[in-house]
């Protein structure tokens, strides 16, 4: 009874607060800008002349329709393109033009936003790709690869319903993916108890070394014999002239040998077992021979294997990794690989790390491990992995272990090899020794049958004794769960049954017919769409179940679990205390990672991290694990603030950093051991702590080779100050005047300040970017920078460049000045309120699945008010408690 009363109350409250305020749906372009229009445009574009059929004397400064916006857009475009006023006519004063453009561009951003405001209307949406995958996992207990589905959106959040389309191809993909997920789930269920274990000795690699060295030596012997004969023939007095002529024609020695047929008395390669002369050339002094021979002299090479850097092609001798094949008959499931391993005690720190994965030539690294054991006292490292039905082919079942070949080792392996060879005459030390590897398919005795199969409640393999009624009941239960407790029509179930029946009658077995029929349920609209039915109203309060689903899709990107559902059904979910407790439970659950990852990724625009390839020749300590750790740092930092209910300010400035060993090494922070992320206290003068000190942010603000002060400045304005600059305008004349000059970054960007159409935005963006120039393209601290013009191949022209000391000092446009990065960071941190506001706006959009609009101002204000000093968790709680969140 109490619950009902509450609902009525809220519904009536809404009538006043939700509908968009008439006044707020338009944007005013400050009337003081009229002078600029009158001074510069009106002479031609007036009522009389109407030049180009365009008038500005009757412009509306109240932008309340897309039509008016279009007119102003046209003015903005032609000023940006430098088309107006036309050449030869009096041009506006540069500062006035910059100010006008600045004002108009920002007004347009606001106007577009207001005009596309959905006024709180939430469009029903289908599950996005992420949610679809998560939902299948919750129902069936399996993870499937859904990458073939089209990406959901290129801009905005992936939860915004209006942007989530559906195409016919997609529909067919859902059918196929549904079947795939079901078959995977059936297999896991039926094979749950299976246990297999096998140990593989690593010295198979030593045997390969032996064979390869033998072959190389034999080849060398034959090569040298042939060459001796050839030289003998070349030295004959009667061949003297001929040989000299050949040598003149082919200055490269090996090329002369190619012409052996022209030299009387020269030996035929075939007699020495060669098809071609180039085999002899390469066989004469094999580059890696001494290194490979050295391997065989290593202690314990007979009882295990050493892995090192790649030398020759892995097809001939895979020196860089060991690999082991999971027997093809072992079923999908959870696996464990154990390795007995040790590293040379006094070897450099960065070579005592291994990577583990599947499919050495193409596969991704699944985990990275630091070795603490030694050759004398090896340790055992356990590396879990999962095989699915898709892992059918040999290469997909082959696990590998290799040294953490920071990419430099691989991409510049010859260079690295030579550097090491210079030191010891041989090449890179053999550091990592492996005794054996054991692969185990883990039985899952404690496995809980996944909810959807449990709901189904019938045998997956045998329909003996199953009556029509049993199947109808099974389908109904399965459907209810899949449709998230929405009512299911009998007619629908009947149709599913008929399809099952016709497959059975057509001779298909029970298991396959069942899978086929169930896949249709997983492609039906009531599964694919998160629906919140309305009956003739504009808005309504969500039912308990709908409310629970909105909450769980917000935080887990997945359906509510049994606990949340029962609270929803009882109506207790409307109780703020219960709701807060459940929200915290969801956030703390492992599934809560979905929020951290997917929200943070989209909020901060981390997709840019994958746009560029870092130049690892220039940044030697950077590699894929650093990149992974740098991305993780962002997530961990958000998670830290969230789970400790800290102020958002900590994301702007903090006296700690979240780091694991890889990242700490990269940052030069000492004393961090182990693969997990933890809070590390920073020294007082550290530039780390807060987003502006993170490698991920600096990487995004550059192209992997050079920094981009513009990208960085724009990002800070967008995400930290929450004052996004307008999108880069089209058709602005390009600056190429300075292209061949040797200039500092600042000098080059000065060109941005010359033209008013550039200056209007860049005067805000550039100073911030320059303030961050002490971070190089991978976010390491530097005091100096340099510029070398490039040749066409992108190589630096060394004798032409220059180096300068970085000057980070600057002043925000019409704002505070700063001497260095630290002062800039303080200014940013003093703007926590704006930063938090931006966070709130993003959060509302993400959680509600619609763009944030003017109508949300009150909501956001109250979220800020409830935040008890910008605490992230309080903000989330405030949102889920808000009336809007429980309203359709």
């Amino acid at each position: 009874m109490k619950v009902k009363f509450l609902v009525v109350c809220m519904a009536s409250f809404f009538a006043v607060s939700l509908p968009a305020d008439e006044k707020s749906s338009h944007t005013l372009f400050d009337i003081k800008n009229k002078t600029f229009i009158e001074d510069n445009c009106q002479r031609c574009h007036n009522a009389k002349k109407k030049k180009g059929k365009f008038r500005v004397d009757n412009l509306s400064y109240k932008i309340d329709s897309n039509k008016t916006a279009g007119i102003w857009q046209k003015i903005l475009n032609s000023l940006n393109a430098g088309e107006m006023p036309p050449e030869g006519k009096k041009q506006p004063e540069a500062n006035a033009k910059a100010d006008f453009l600045d004002a108009l561009a920002s007004t347009m951003v606001e106007a577009r936003k207001k005009l596309s405001d959905q006024n709180g209307v939430i469009t029903m949406r289908r599950l996005n790709r992420r949610e679809y995958k998560n939902t299948l996992r919750e129902l069936l207990g399996v993870e499937i690869n859904v990458n073939e589905l089209p990406a959901d959106t290129e801009s905005g959040f992936d939860t915004v319903g209006a942007n989530l389309f559906m195409s016919s191809n997609q529909f067919e993909q859902y059918l196929a993916l549904g079947e795939e997920a079901l078959e995977e789930a059936f297999t896991w269920e039926l094979e749950a108890g299976v246990n297999h274990k096998k140990r593989f000795e690593a010295e198979y690699l030593t045997k390969k070394y032996k064979k390869y060295v033998e072959k190389t030596l034999d080849k060398q012997k034959r090569s040298r014999a042939w060459i001796a004969k050839f030289d003998e023939a070349a030295g004959l007095p009667e061949n003297k002239e001929l040989y000299a002529a050949l040598k003149k024609k082919h200055t490269w020695k090996n090329k002369v040998r190619d012409k052996w047929q022209e030299l009387p008395g020269a030996p035929n390669p075939k007699d020495f077992g060669f098809k071609e002369v180039h085999q002899i050339n390469s066989g004469e002094n094999p580059y890696y021979l001494a290194y490979h021979q050295h391997y065989l002299t290593l202690p314990k090479a007979e009882e295990g294997a050493y892995i090192s850097v790649p030398t020759v092609h892995p097809f001939m001798l895979p020196t860089g990794f060991v690999e082991f094949n999971t027997p093809s008959k072992w079923p999908p499931g959870n696996y464990l690989a154990r390795v007995r391993i040790g590293a040379k005690q006094d070897a450099p720190f960065n070579r005592k790390v291994i990577e583990f994965g599947i499919d050495a030539p193409h596969g991704k690294v699944m985990s990275t491990h630091r070795i603490t054991g030694t050759h004398e006292e090896p340790q055992i490292i356990e590396m879990p992995f999962t095989l699915t039905r898709k892992h059918k082919d040999r290469e997909n079942r082959q696990i590998f272990i290799r040294e953490k070949a920071s990419d430099y080792h691989i991409s510049h392996k010859r260079k690295f090899f030579n550097e090491e060879k210079k030191k010891n005459g041989l090449g890179p030390e053999f550091v990592v020794w492996i005794d054996w590897v054991e692969i185990e398919r883990l039985p899952n005795d404690k496995r809980v049958t996944p909810p959807a199969l449990k709901a189904l409640g019938i045998s997956l393999t045998d329909d003996k004794g199953l009556m029509r009624a049993d199947l109808l009941k099974a389908f109904t239960k399965f459907t209810e769960l899949a449709f998230r407790n929405k009512e299911v029509s009998e007619e629908y179930i009947e149709k599913i049954y008929k399809i099952y029946e016709s497959r059975r009658k057509g001779g298909e077995n029970h298991r396959d017919s069942l899978r086929y029929s169930l896949s249709i349920i997983l492609s039906s609209p009531m599964f694919l769409y998160i629906s919140e039915p309305l009956k003739d109203q504009q808005h309504k309060t969500l039912s308990g179940e709908e409310f629970a689903m909105r909450l769980s899709y917000f935080i887990w990107g997945a359906p509510a679990d049994a606990e949340l559902m029962s609270i929803a059904k009882s109506g207790k979910i409307y109780d703020h205390k219960v709701l807060a407790k459940q929200t915290e439970r969801l956030l703390g659950d492992p599934r809560g990672e979905d929020f951290i990852h997917s929200f943070t990724y989209q909020w901060l625009g981390l997709d840019r991290l994958d746009f560029f390839q870092v130049d690892i020749k220039k940044y030697r300590t950077f590699d894929d694990s650093v990149k992974l750790a740098a991305k993780q740092e962002v997530y961990e930092s958000v998670k830290h603030v969230l789970s400790n209910n800290l102020s958002m300010k900590n994301l702007l400035k903090a006296d700690y950093v979240l780091a694991n060993n890889v990242l700490a090494d990269f940052y030069g922070i000492e004393g961090v051991k182990g693969d997990h992320f933890r809070k590390v206290k920073l020294l007082k003068n550290s530039p780390r702590g807060g987003l502006m000190g993170m490698t991920a942010v600096h990487l995004m603000g550059g192209n992997g080779i050079e920094t981009s002060p513009v990208e960085r400045g724009a990002w800070v304005l967008r995400k930290l100050f929450n004052t996004p600059p307008p999108p880069a305008p089209a058709n602005v004349p390009m600056l190429s005047r300075l292209s061949d000059k040797v200039l500092t970054t600042r000098e080059r960007q000065k060109a941005h300040q010359e033209d008013p159409q550039c200056r209007s935005c860049h005067r805000k963006i550039d100073p911030i970017g320059f303030g961050m120039e002490n971070f190089d393209a991978v976010g390491l601290w530097r005091e100096e920078d340099s510029y070398y013009p490039h040749d066409k191949k992108g190589r630096e022209i060394k004798d032409k460049g220059k180096t300068w000391k970085i000057d980070p000092a600057g002043q925000l446009h019409r704002g505070q000045s700063f001497k260095n990065f630290f002062e800039l960071r303080d200014i940013v941190a003093s703007n926590t309120e704006n930063f938090t506001k931006g966070f709130c706006e993003a959060l509302v959009e993400y959680a509600m699945g619609r763009p944030t609009g003017v109508s949300d101002e009150l909501l956001i204000e109250s979220m800020l008010k409830d935040s008890k000093g910008y605490k992230m968790r309080e903000i989330i709680l405030s949102l889920v408690k808000s009336k809007q969140f429980r309203t359709k």
Partner: protein
Amino acid sequence: MNTTRRQFLRSSSALIALPVFSSFEHKAFAAAKKSKNQLPPKRLMFLSFGWGVTEESWYPDINTPGADYKLPDGLSPLKRHKKDFSVIQGLYNKHSHDGHSGSTFWLTGANRYSQAGVSFTNSVSADQVAAQQFGRHTRFTSMPLNGSHPKISGDGHGEGLSLAWDNSGKPVAGYNSPFAAYHKLFSKGDVSIDQLKTMLNQKRSILDTIQGNAKYLQKKLGKNDSLKLDEYLASIRDIETRLVKEEQWFDIPKPKATLKEPPKEADGKQDIKLMYDIMIAALQTDSTRVITYRQPVRTLLKSIGVNVNQHDMSHYHQTRAEKLDASERRDKAQSALLSGLLDKLKSTKEADGSSLYDHTSLVYGSNIRTGHSLDNCPTIVAGGGAKIKMGENLVVRKDTPLCNLWLTLLKESGVKVDKHGDSTGVLDEIKA
């Protein structure tokens, strides 16, 4: 035609008109196709690349319009075809303001802000307008090909799944590889007609079940959501339309493959070349008459040994050097590929001895000129399908709608249409 299915079709709220014609009409057509007296049909091809071109070396001098122009460096690989294509200068989409979406509105000319209350709308693309008419005669209504990876950004095309957008402005998915397109065109599968019929019937019962579920849900939805669900219903009807088509084409076997099965993966340049071969094969076998292709750029650069990031390349203006070099090499590589395509269009013969080229209109271009510049969109037109002047540097009035070109091509190819996107009329000055 099966009555129950007709009823079933009729019962769906008709957003898309189904191409309904009797199998008699259809067979009459198939027979006509074999007749030598029949003129070869008109075809349309739209090819687009992201990231624009090098403006200094791709465009002919705007001051030398007409046939007597110097072929610029970026187009030099097209030298042997100089008389058989034209460059059109001065076209643009007036509603495009975003410097990074090279293809989203290229064929539609739509204003993304045209509808209040949403931040993105699009409208039907020119190819789909043609497909509604030409598509009745072929196994495939149209063939949208998409070489730009949907997940990895980096091809500068912007939103969409291909160049094609349907009648309600929703993205149309494309075939993502030459391999996939090849099998669609030629793979027969090893099912008998009876099996195929059973399969189609099963598919129909799936669609029926699912549509029932949609209707059931729709009854309870508010107006907005109900519109959203229409997308789902439309996608089901698309499939239904395809099934109707499959049924009609039952007794006409798929054509014999005119080329080898392409590899599953190929490097950028090879990938584009293979896709071009697929286009020729599709036209040659009259499997479709309307083709679009969203070309990859990222992988193309990689395959020609350019290591500059594609976005950086498009902003070559500031530091030039390797970025400019990359941009120029991209232009040449693209022109060389196009040149190869034109070779094949010319050398592939129709039944009456004329060439494919004679009946095809090919457009090659982008919504982006260079950097963030969206005016004077790079545009090349080739082929005799629409009687456009060939061999000329055609300079039209600055800021003429691109849609005027689409309208011209559509009309001249025989499509009944009076307006497209923001078109203001046809381009009489480019007609031969």
